[in-house]
Each structure stands twice: as structure tokens, then as C-alpha cells.
């Protein structure tokens, strides 16, 4: 599985069906959430930013675990493909975190009355953005790619402690951010007519994450193996 030619061929096949699937799910979820789902009884239509905010935040958290797991694999088994994965996830995670923060601020102004507040949820989410940016910067700071990957793996692993903190922050401390509306056990606090498009959008964002990470990995592989004969042959055959 760690072989670049095999991965290149496999990911090419996955991207071919993942790309239309992602676009389809995003369009369907956005149309359902923005046009079909009813307005909220208190917020009116401004709540609809939830269809971007929550999926971006959920996948930003899950993506961090993907990066940290790749970091652990890289440290223990020294698999090159794990380094490539880590490096591919970091910018995607950073963008998703930034999207969650910006959409949250845009929603916060009309709802709470402020763009920003230093509560536990928002501050820990900002730390997540800095962790992602830190991994990106650390990769660029080293000449030697193996040393860079090792440093990034350690940073990613240390940062995992932030993920449960973000998730539970609204329950552990008094925060302005509301607790989760989607509940894994029991009835969700969001009406099913609004919940279903939200779940669809979360699925769409997971696909978008997988797609962009795979494309990033392929781009990195092409660069790393630009002189390799298998790559030249594969490009010639396309």
C-alpha cells in the first residue's frame, strides 16, 4: 500500500468517481438546506449558515485525527506515504477551520450581537487553526523532508489533546457557543426537516475532504517522483 505507483493508480480511480459524487452531494445538500428546509422559529433564515459552519467544523476536527494518525504511522513504521498524507491534510484542515471560524463570526453578529468572543469553544477552535498552520510552517522550515515529517508528526500528536477539548468545551465550561444540536443518543435538538440536509452536507464535506486530500497527495507524489520512469510511463499512457 505504501508503493507510490500503486497509490497513484488507485487514487486516480477513486478520484474519478469521488469528484462527481462530491459535487452532487454538495449541490443537493446546499439546495435542500438553502431552498427546501424551513426557516428557524427565532433566527429566520440566518440559521442557514449552519449548512456550511457545522460540516466545516466537524470535518476540521475529524481531519486532525487523520493527520495525527498519519503522524503516528510515520513515526512508528517510517512509511513515506504517511508523511505525504500528513502534509496533504494540513492545508485542507486549516481551510476548513478558517471557514468554521469565519461563518461562525458572520452568524454571531446578528445572533449574539458580536463577531467574536473569547469563550472556550471559539478559542480552542482558533488554537486548532494555529496547529494546522504550525504543521504547514514546520514542513516548510526543514530542508530534509524526513526530519520535517518527524517534527510535524510530534506536533500533530501533541495537538490531538485539543480535539476533545473543542468537542466538550461547551459542556465543561460556561461558553457563549451553544451545546451540540445533533445528539448521537436521544432526540436531536434540531428538527428533522433541518437535520436531514445538515447530515447530507456533513457527508458531502467528508467527501470533499477525502477528494482534496487525495488530490494533494497525488500532486505531492508527482513532484517527489518527477524523474521516476513509472510516472513518465503513466503520464504517457493517459
Amino acid at each position: 500500500m505504501g508503493s507510490p505507483p500503486w497509490f497513484f493508480r488507485f487514487s486516480g480511480a477513486v478520484v474519478r468517481w469521488l469528484l462527481p459524487l462530491t459535487i452532487g452531494l454538495l449541490l443537493l445538500g446546499a439546495a435542500w438546506g438553502l431552498l427546501v428546509a424551513p426557516p428557524d422559529f427565532r433566527q429566520g433564515n440566518s440559521y442557514r449558515i449552519i449548512y456550511v459552519h457545522v460540516p466545516a467544523a466537524v470535518v476540521a476536527l475529524a481531519g486532525y485525527y487523520v493527520m495525527a494518525f498519519a503522524g503516528a504511522v510515520s513515526l512508528i513504521w517510517r512509511i513515506k506515504m504517511a508523511d505525504v498524507t500528513m502534509r496533504a491534510v494540513a492545508p485542507v484542515g486549516a481551510v476548513l477551520t478558517a471557514v468554521a471560524l469565519v461563518t461562525g463570526a458572520i452568524w454571531g453578529k446578528p445572533t449574539w450581537g458580536t463577531w467574536w468572543v473569547w469563550d472556550a469553544r471559539i478559542t480552542s477552535m482558533l488554537i486548532l487553526l494555529f496547529l494546522y498552520l504550525g504543521v504547514i510552517a514546520l514542513f516548510e522550515a526543514y530542508e530534509n523532508k524526513t526530519a520535517a515529517a518527524r517534527a510535524c508528526a510530534v506536533l500533530s500528536l501533541v495537538g490531538t489533546v485539543n480535539i476533545p477539548i473543542i468537542y466538550k468545551s461547551v459542556d465543561w465550561w460556561y461558553a457563549l457557543h451553544q451545546p451540540a444540536s445533533i445528539k448521537f443518543t436521544g432526540e436531536s435538538a434540531i428538527d428533522s426537516s433541518m437535520l436531514h440536509p445538515l447530515l447530507l452536507m456533513i457527508g458531502a464535506f467528508y467527501c470533499l475532504f477525502a477528494l482534496t486530500v487525495l488530490l494533494n497527495m497525488r500532486a505531492e507524489l508527482v513532484w517527489n517522483h518527477r524523474e521516476a520512469s513509472w510516472l513518465k510511463q503513466m503520464v504517457r499512457n493517459v
Binding site: 449552519i50 445572533t111 450581537g113 510530534v154 500528536l157 465550561w173 460556561y174 434540531i190
Partner: protein, 150 residues
Amino acid sequence: MHPLRKQRLIVVSLVVVLSSAAVGLVAFALRDNINLFYPPADVVAGKAPVDRNIRLGGMVVEGSIERSSTELDTTFWVTDYEASVAVRYSGILPDLFAEGEGVVAEGMLDDNGVLIATQVLAKHDENYMPPEVAAALEGKAALGEAAVLP
């Protein structure tokens, strides 16, 4: 597993566990500072500082909002169902500010224990529903029935 990899696995696990423990202890030590606001019970009990800005959070007591007819001044009570604190605020309130809803007010306590607020934020709860469902719930509650969705 190869002994070298096993050793690395142990080191990686230790890094995660020990750094989590360290951050956990720091968060536990700083728990009072991580809280965004004081509940009214803490303010009434004198646990909140009186000589500097604090945030007070809770629910706006039903029927407690009094608006001045000539100025932007508003007074209301904030409760956590254990204790209540009066808040005075002069300014524009957020749209979602209402009786029985969550609020976070920032300001200083005066000598009478009234919070003179410089900022009032609405705290939205986790409930999202269409207007019809909200109306149905309200109707059922008014009839004294259990609020059950159809």
C-alpha cells in the same frame, strides 16, 4: 511486532498521554478563567470580583424587562434558577434578546449589586425548529399537554 517499532509505539503513546495529561491539568487549574461568565448564584455569593469588569450569564427572568420610554435604558433580571441579579444597560440589544432566553452581560457591579452593563449578548440555545413546530409546541403547552412532536 518488531521490537524497535514496538518501542516507537510506546513512545508515541506516551507523548499523546503525557501531553494530554499536562494540558488537562492546566485546564483544570484555570477552569475559573476559562468560564466565559459567572452564573448569578456565584455573583450573589460574592465569588465574582466587584472592582472590575465581569460577565454575567443566565436566563432573562420572564416579565422582568423594563424599558425606558425616552432613553435606550433597559433593566432586567438574570437568573440561573438559584439566584437572580439585576442588570442595567443603555444601548441597542441584540435581536434575539428576549424574556426566558439566554443572555451574557458584561459590566461592573455597583454598590447595590446591580450589574451596569457595557455590552449585552444573546446566548442562543441548541434548539432549531420551523415556526409551525414552535407554534404547535406552544399550543400544546398552553393546553397543558405534554409537548410531543407529531
